[in-house]
Symmetry: C2
Subunit: 162 residues, 2 copies
DNA sequence: TATTGTTATACTCTATAACTATA
DNA sequence: TATAGTTATAGAGTATAACAATA
């Protein structure tokens, strides 16, 4: 409209955003129905479940989840209250807090995952061929790496001395 | 973990969600900085700007934006208060409300768009080849069509008589 | 002085249910 | 009876700034 550019590119962008919005909405409902968690809480637990020793510092946990620190503190507090994680000061760095997923947390993730995979398969994988998926995986992997390499726009942007 | 499945597929899904999350966060900030709007408000205005006669009913406006009706009413109210849209009863159907974008609304979109395109180009298009983009566009277009064809999980799920 | 994390607060978005009015 | 939309209200997520403690 103003900066014209290739319209196809914009279409691609819009299709991407709308698709993921729909998918996000669907999995959000699945996670809540199957495990009484928000999608973000599920993501945090899933990250912890895959982490070495099943624990991460708050900062490490925040990375990639696009979060303000206070938001993560809030979510960690909710998860702790629900008995799904524990928090303790790191022995390596007294400033850091280590978040550890509990067995109840692991169970919760395990309870959600099968249905979760079903939703993703029905909505995302279903209309795609095996080859499409491979290509999409490669493309999004590159995009993610590229975005991660960009100056983080959330967590790290704490004090931007103007 | 539970329903095993192809791990590559899950990776693709995670890469997709994380990338879009980062992109969403970036454009959200751009839209707010350049035009004092939330991303969703921007999307609504952009939809109206592209619509025939620059107007849509509430229901048509909601489609694809994954919204509850009350949420859309709320957003439309904010946009109207800001002078960016007007609302009037449709002459065709007395029940329907026609939302029309104003000149100020068009100006606002025009003010946001160039910078918006810049962000999308830097974050999404930059690491991709022309061919990647074509492929991605085709894939996401198919995915979107597929998801739209699914029973809508937001707007239409109004009264699900159990 | 920089970094990790928490607290308090306020704001936005979203969702549910009850309601009005028109088809 | 079904559909379009609004209202009220409550809840969840997010962000900012001020703060304490450790490196």
């Amino acid at each position: 409209m103003a900066d014209a550019l290739e319209p196809e590119q914009l279409d691609t962008y819009f299709a991407l955003m709308e698709s993921v919005s729909l998918l996000h909405h669907a999995v959000e409902q699945q996670v809540r129905a199957a495990g009484e968690l928000s999608y973000i809480q599920f993501q945090l637990l899933a990250r912890l479940a895959d982490a070495p020793d099943r624990q991460l510092t708050m900062t490490a946990l925040a990375d990639g989840v696009v979060y303000s620190r206070s938001g993560l503190t809030h979510q960690a507090g909710l998860l702790e209250k629900a008995g799904l994680v524990t928090r303790a000061t790191s022995p390596d760095d007294q400033r850091a807090t280590l978040v550890t997923i509990t067995q109840a947390g692991l169970d919760r993730v395990a309870a959600i995952l099968p249905g979760h995979v079903d939703v993703v398969r029905d909505l995302l994988f279903d209309p795609l061929s095996k080859e499409d998926l491979d290509v999409l995986g490669g493309i999004m992997g590159r995009v993610r790496d590229h975005m991660r390499a960009q100056p983080p726009r959330s967590v790290s942007t704490r004090k931007r001395r103007t």
